[in-house]
């Protein structure tokens, strides 16, 4: 069964959230991953996260909430 991982990086200053996300993704061994990153509603953090994910070939969608972004990460392209 697919495990769902939640990486909650709210309250952390950019680029620490991107670093923790990449670190966690590198640790996950499954091929089909289901990861949700929850971060503050900061454009700098979002940009840093999406750039590093794109550069590493991850598919993702961004959902905007009132006070946070949720980035759902799927398998690598």
């Amino acid at each position: 069964m697919e495990t769902k991982y939640i990486i909650d990086v709210r309250g952390l200053v950019c680029p620490y959230p991107a670093f923790l996300t990449i670190k966690k993704l590198n640790e996950i061994k499954e091929e089909n991953i289901n990861v949700e990153v929850i971060c503050d509603k900061s454009e700098a953090t979002l940009k840093s996260l999406t750039t590093t994910l794109t550069n590493r070939g991850y598919k993702f969608i961004v959902k905007e909430n009132e006070d946070s972004y949720i980035i759902r990460i799927g398998e690598k392209i």
């Binding site: 200053v13 680029p15 620490y16 991107a18 670093f19 940009k47 840093s48 750039t51 590093t52």
Partner: protein
């Protein structure tokens, strides 16, 4: 005649092992930590005219590099001023040598240490920091699009960790900490002046944080008319510890006193590694890449037929660069064998 002595490299490794073991066993204190007073060695086989060339062998510091000075000063002053207490962890962005120095000092004084490093640093450096109980955070070059490559990303990450948990971490921040400048103003500069009996005319140094060149440079300029020469590597270089300022930002402690530098000499990777080879062949010294860049700059100066006494800052030796030198074919097989033995003695 080829001189193959490597005596200063062997002495350094012996010195280093003793100090690392003392740090691990908790026998190291501020009082018995002998930072500075490194030897000044004449490189007469590389002179070619009326410029006398001396190298300040900074790898003879307790943990093998010039960065021991800044690390020692920064921690000592932070404890004295109450910025660092035993409930805090030490975190620092570093391209290697400051990480090793801080890992040793942290271990000796009972602090947990985190080194935030660029991905490009050598395996030997990472292994040594971990062996000393430090943790290594490798920063990808593309971590944040707002910052430049390499060390700039490490600085941004280390700062963001401290800002996220301000009560948990102390970041010495060698790029902004005045103690880094003071370490060289109060020790490196006076040592050079004293050892040359006031005859030094040129100081040649690489630039990472800018602490060495501004600290030692200002002290020497206050003593007499001494030309301060900064060495800058090419873009996309492989010289650990140095910065090309077209692709990296200028650190605050450098920008504050950048006028101290009278002249900049650009050095390519090829020139730096050729100088590394030359130092091994002619002087029996196995030097690090940044020392190679500094030597290459001195050899360029030599061609200008100037008179005087140049002091070159050799920040570290080759012991952490076995992998790099093997990969790039910098040294011959005999020299690599010696380097391998020295590296193995440090259990890399």
């Amino acid at each position: 005649m080829t001189v193959i002595q490597y005596e200063w490299n062997m002495r350094a490794v012996h010195n280093w092992i003793t100090n690392i073991n003392s740090a691990i066993n908790g026998h190291l204190t501020y009082d018995n930590l002998k930072v500075g007073n490194t030897p000044l060695l004449r490189l007469s086989n590389l002179e070619n005219g009326e410029l006398k060339i001396y190298a300040k062998l900074e790898w003879m510091n307790p943990f093998g590099s010039i960065k021991d000075r800044a690390a020692y000063w920064m921690i000592k002053i932070a404890e004295k001023e109450g910025l660092l207490s035993k409930d805090k962890k030490i975190i620092e962005p570093t391209s290697g040598n400051t990480g090793i120095a801080l890992a040793c000092i942290s271990r000796a004084l009972g602090y947990k240490f985190y080194a935030v490093v660029p991905q490009a640093i050598t395996d030997e450096t990472k292994i040594l920091i971990k062996k000393l109980g430090g943790e290594v955070f490798e920063t990808p070059d593309d971590l944040c699009p707002r910052f430049g490559k390499g060390t700039d990303q490490s600085i941004a990450l280390a700062k963001s960790i401290v800002e996220s948990y301000p009560d948990q971490y102390f970041m010495p921040n060698q790029y902004e900490n005045e103690a880094n400048f003071l370490a060289h103003y109060e020790s490196t500069g006076p040592e050079i002046w004293k050892a040359t009996e006031g005859k030094v005319t040129h100081l040649i140094s690489g630039i990472g944080t800018g602490g060495t060149i501004t600290g030692a440079g200002l002290y020497l300029k206050e003593q007499g008319n001494i030309e301060i020469i900064g060495v800058e590597p090419q873009k996309n270089h492989h010289i650990q510890g140095l910065r090309n300022f077209e692709e990296s930002g200028i650190p605050p402690i450098l920008s504050k006193r950048i006028k101290i530098i009278d002249r900049w000499i650009k050095v390519s990777d090829e020139e730096a590694f050729t100088a590394v080879k030359l130092a091994a062949e002619k002087e029996g010294l196995l030097i690090g890449p940044s020392s190679g860049a500094v030597l290459a700059a001195a050899l360029k100066l030599n061609k200008e037929h100037i008179k005087g006494t140049a002091v070159l800052i050799f920040a570290d030796d080759a012991v952490k660069y076995l992998g790099l030198y093997t990969k790039l074919g910098v040294l011959n097989s005999e020299q690599l064998d010696i380097l391998r033995k020295l590296s193995n003695a440090l259990s890399f």
